[in-house]
């Protein structure tokens, strides 16, 4: 037997924490469905040509080879997807004839990145994405709708408050054009690093990489300072003294977003002109989000509007979507005990076994309870009752069921209370019926 050791970057939960993760994934999925999104699941692999189509080699793709082809006679053709956006683009194009547009889809799957283990990053992790994809056109109002789907979903979890921070690519691009910066893509990438590297480093990079003057740098950094949770964001930007059509269109959209979002869910979204998003396919609203008290974790949910994620020459598919980095977020809050499951196992009642001849009776009891939605497990041993109770206690199973001369009895092993019950109507309290997602530290 080869030595067993954890693989760096491939997190794995013990059953208790998996219960918490599963409850979080269920909540996300249920919320996405309440908003009318259809779940899809794409294959884990894509042709390497698709994965590299956006020139995105920084994602450290894992390539696949069949064991039988290891002699090098065949170059790898498939790789594991590193996000759920590339697969969505391919799925939409492949199945367009069978989809209804605008296509509302959610997707909760693992993705893989061959990151260096010393970076402390995950190589396998869950993402949860929602996107609306139109055919040829997509109305602006979806840019207000989509971040609120995520606010609704995340708001149902026992987590610290998560706020969406949003900007608009048209604002950034219009503003940079107005102040005379030419290399806008590189400027966006540099501004995107502001939070991480600070203003001094950004200043130097803007001067070195895009040849920005002091005045341009001052203006760009002033723009990035602006925050507002209402229409005043436009006044603040215009007060910097620049304007053009693109900037004004962008500000109009940003005001509609910040006002529209906060009208529906107050406190859900603030305009934050520092948000740039490095990827060059965004064309309108861009979103990041911060969890209170965990700012160092970076954005836990990000995305934006893209006018052409994919096109087949005849048709173009614009969209807007956001993605939650589920594993990174959960790894933090589960390991710090912020959230957890209320017990270790799904079982709510252990059926005690008087002796091995009574095992079939215990199995029948369990069967009847399960039909009524009560998770029941038969004691694996017919040892003394004390030992059977200990078995339940160790696993956090709250109730033990006994068949006695006085009839069927249930003991709540937390309180010790034991009473005679009718198998046809005994029901544990709702809070005990299934392990709950509980919040421990706040």
């Amino acid at each position: 037997m080869a030595k067993i050791a954890p693989l760096s970057g491939f997190p794995e939960w013990l059953p208790e924490s998996r219960l918490a993760e599963q409850a979080v994934l269920d909540t996300l999925r249920k919320t996405f469905e309440l908003h009318g999104f259809s779940g899809i699941e794409t294959r884990a692999v894509e042709p390497i040509s698709q994965l590299l189509a956006k020139g995105e080699t920084s994602k450290e793709i894992y390539l696949l080879s069949r064991l039988q082809d290891l002699d090098g006679s065949k170059a790898p053709e498939l790789g594991l997807h590193f996000d759920l956006t590339v697969p969505l683009a391919r799925y939409v194009l492949e199945h367009a004839g069978h989809l209804d547009f605008p296509f509302r889809r959610y997707q909760i799957q693992k993705v893989w990145r061959g990151e260096r283990p010393q970076d402390g990053r995950f190589r396998e992790f869950y993402q949860a994405d929602v996107d609306v994809v139109g055919q040829d056109t997509l109305a602006f109002h979806h840019e207000i709708e989509l971040p609120l789907v995520m606010v609704d979903a995340l708001g149902k979890l026992p987590l610290p408050k998560i706020t969406i921070h949003a900007s608009n690519r048209k604002v950034a691009q219009g503003f940079y054009e107005a102040i005379g910066i030419e290399n806008i893509e590189e400027t966006l990438r540099i501004i995107d690093k502001l939070e991480k590297v600070g203003p001094r480093a950004v200043q130097q990079m803007l001067a070195a990489n895009v040849g920005a003057t002091d005045a341009q740098i001052t203006a760009a950094l002033s723009l990035a300072q602006i925050r507002a949770n209402d229409a005043s964001v436009a006044d603040q930007v215009l007060a910097l003294g620049y304007r053009n059509e693109l900037l004004e269109t962008g500000l109009d959209e940003l005001v509609r977003l910040v006002e529209g979002a906060n009208e529906l869910i107050p406190g859900s979204l603030i305009a934050n002109l520092q948000i740039a998003r490095g990827l060059d396919y965004y064309t309108g609203s861009v979103y990041e989000s911060v969890m209170d008290g965990h700012e160092d974790l970076g954005s836990v949910c990000s995305g934006g509007r893209y006018d052409s994620l994919v096109s087949d020459g005849k048709r173009t598919f614009p969209g807007v979507g956001l993605s939650i980095g589920v594993s990174r977020m959960l790894s933090r809050v589960i390991s710090q005990g912020v959230i957890g499951a209320s017990r270790k196992v799904p079982t709510v009642v252990l059926i005690a076994v008087n002796d091995e001849n009574a095992r079939a009776h215990a199995a029948k009891t369990a069967m009847i309870l399960r039909r009524r939605g009560i998770a029941a497990e038969v004691s694996p041993s017919s040892a003394k009752f004390g030992k059977q109770i200990k078995y339940a206690d160790k696993r956090g199973i709250p109730y033990v069921w006994f068949t006695t001369e006085d009839g069927e009895q249930v003991k709540d092993i937390r309180s010790g209370a034991q009473s005679t019950v009718d198998i046809a109507d005994w029901m544990p309290p709702v809070a005990d019926l299934y392990p709950q997602l509980v919040s421990e530290n706040f």
Copy 2:
């Protein structure tokens, strides 16, 4: 944009069929939890040394390389798991100190096999496994319990009846020893092919590969003919005129299995002495199962008892478990229309939008309904109501909500019936609330 084409062996569902698949996976998971099994999810990758530990190269493993390592300087070290048993063995050994034994776990995940595409086999597919793993010992009664978990789970799906066919390795081994066959592993592998290749081919292989005499072949084939759903199975085997201790122990277990299973769930299991299972780690009960009318599909759920799946030298972990080949089963029954979803999208009501100024009101209406568990979607366009109703109709959304001068109204677009409702208590019938798994053709 590279050309888009489906990848052979990597099935992908349209949203409507994915709804059906998801409902099936949910039913399996819920049933496993009702039986007190804890869900785990293991990483998709294992060290190649683990994957090859059982000498199982026939599984056509996919190996992983980082794009950055393609120069050949680094040999692949990781591969994708090809089943959920190898990962379970590794998980149990790695986390033994944190698990409670007997460890009851279920696992529903995709697995990958680099099969040749011309075989028409899947390269990516779902398996759903349940196992009970003990530390050093594991009582026999789990060999009765585990197949019944699967019968319970599969029985809740709108599928043709699925029956477990079971035998016992001790019976086969004891019998072959009693008739004087020496290469028992190879004999098991040959008998395992009986259903596929027929008795004549098996006869030839037994003569050629294990040097069996005509008398031995006749005896082995006679054993494989035996079927019974009660204790008579032992009489039939002993009537062949051979006996030894191992055979009698095996028959005792087989009788306990067939009687115990059918006492709890009548008609659930038959003893079928043809069942051999090719894998050499089984040591007691072995299971396959057949779906009525789909016998050509082969076993949809298989497994068995193993005395030592894994060991670290000090401790041994015996277990018993079964695995459902979910994708293969669903691919058949979904594509033939045996099961499907009752509608294409989760949305139950479309909120019509009178004009764009009324969109916020429609969004608030949707929000209130969602809080009450009703999946609601706001019409993407404020076109004429006829067009908005058509949008709902095309997607199979059963209800459309209107804000009119006479108050809030809901139209059932199937019947055309429209009535004034109170947003605080309107509720669609349960059958409409969420897409149902429906059985179409039987």
